[in-house]
Amino acid sequence: MGLCMTLDVARIRKDFPILDREVRPSVPLVYLDSAATSQKPAQVLDAMRDYYERHNANVHRGIHTLAEEATAIYEGTRAKVATFVNAASPSEVVFTKNSTEALNLLAHVLPFGPGDEVVVTEMEHHSNLVPWQLACQRTGATLKWIGLTDDGRLDLDDLDRVITDRTRVVSFVHQSNLLGTVNPVDVVVAKARSVGAYVVLDASQSVPHMGIDVQALGVDAVAFTGHKMLGPTGIGVLWAPLARLEEWPPFLGGGEMIDEVTMAGSTWAVPPHKYEAGTPPIAEAAGLGAAVDYLTDVGMDAVRAHEHELTAYALEQLQAVEGLRIIGPTTTEMRGGAISFALGTVHPHDVGQLLDERGVAVRVGHHCARPACLRYGVPATTRASVHLYTSTDDIDALVEGLRAVKAFFGA
């Protein structure tokens, strides 16, 4: 694993049971689909199992021992997540089911109406596009978007044209899951602030790979998702400053999110509970807490440095494959480790299928970012994406596989 100096990848891989798996007899798994979902270390699985085997109970309002313990675990993860992203208080951390719910919640509670404008970008994941399309239909606001440059960046020349005095919300992705691009948050925030718009950041791909400081980012809300950051499925996070969570109206109604209920009407609990209707993802919180501990122990700087090295290596190796075209930035500058590409005329489905026969798991398709695919004139791409457990061996297996695919199709 020659190049990986910053992280003891071999040791880290031991924590991830699935990485020992053979996809078929004698065909070991080479997992390069971490942008879709990350694998989980045994520590996360142990925390969930321990929760269910020793502490399982519904949280809050219970005064028996299990209920107290379950509540402590659940609220403990809230505090861990708050520290992880440098929130001012655990009360600013709302648990949702995934990023998508967090973004839909925002699209429901942020205030805008007819004549107002909502701005997104052309590289959004559908989860940060469709909720705003629906919200604009519902409210009579207009959706606008910032375009992209040929090399996979936001077209910042568009900013002044698109963001105007009518803009109420600017919602954009921190790191693109399709292109790998990391967007200049400060530039967009400065422009949005100058017109008094709320700023929402989709950090689904940045929190897991580089960590974030929500206070330094200077935005009004951030969404991310547990399953991409070594945590379980079924849990996501909405962060927003307490004052915002207090000011915005509720979204889902039900148990936990209320203060006083009568048949005639109800009042709301204080944040974060106001936004957590119903039984929350308790075991999932146990798992996410362990995931945050794991990432913190390794250190997000080390994770970032490792992925940076890997990305540099992958970009170099991939571009050496004849006929391979990268969709997105071709250097590591302001870029993460999700790399989309086209392989000559071979269709991504065929690339993905033949790679799978060699155990190499990549994603093919539009990666829930169809507008960006259209922008670059491809109906679909092949995407390889890394995480802290990815080694240069994995990249080598990919590149070798791609050469075999080309040979197979005579391309």
Partner: protein
Amino acid sequence: MSADSMYQEIILDHYRNPHHKGLREPYDAQVHHLNPTCGDEITLRVALDGDTVADVSYDSEGCSISQASASVLTDLVIGRSVTEAGKAYDAFVELMQSKGQLEPDEDVLEDAVAFAGVSKYPARVKCALLAWMAWRDAVVQASADMEGSTS
């Protein structure tokens, strides 16, 4: 490639040298089908001559499976009666839904038997069916038009 591979030589041959490809005149109905998940598309024309499928022509973009399947389709249906072609359609759809559990009938499906392996890959079944769904759709339209003009 492994023995399990869906990439049978027959499929690759059809993919590399697709039969009856290109849009031709005359035709009675033209349809456009899209698989939005992967972007595969096909424009397909059907010409009927009474009860006979006189021609099927198409223009398409997509993976080897969807391309080969269009080519195989045309071989199977052109020159057949609509009823007979419909049997091939039924047999192919059934094969694709079989999850690898069906022994296809070569008399009915000819080269299309090579797709048996594809049915084990749910994500690829849609690719294999794209041209067939388009064909079915076009035939229904063409027949309706004919009925419309004779009644």
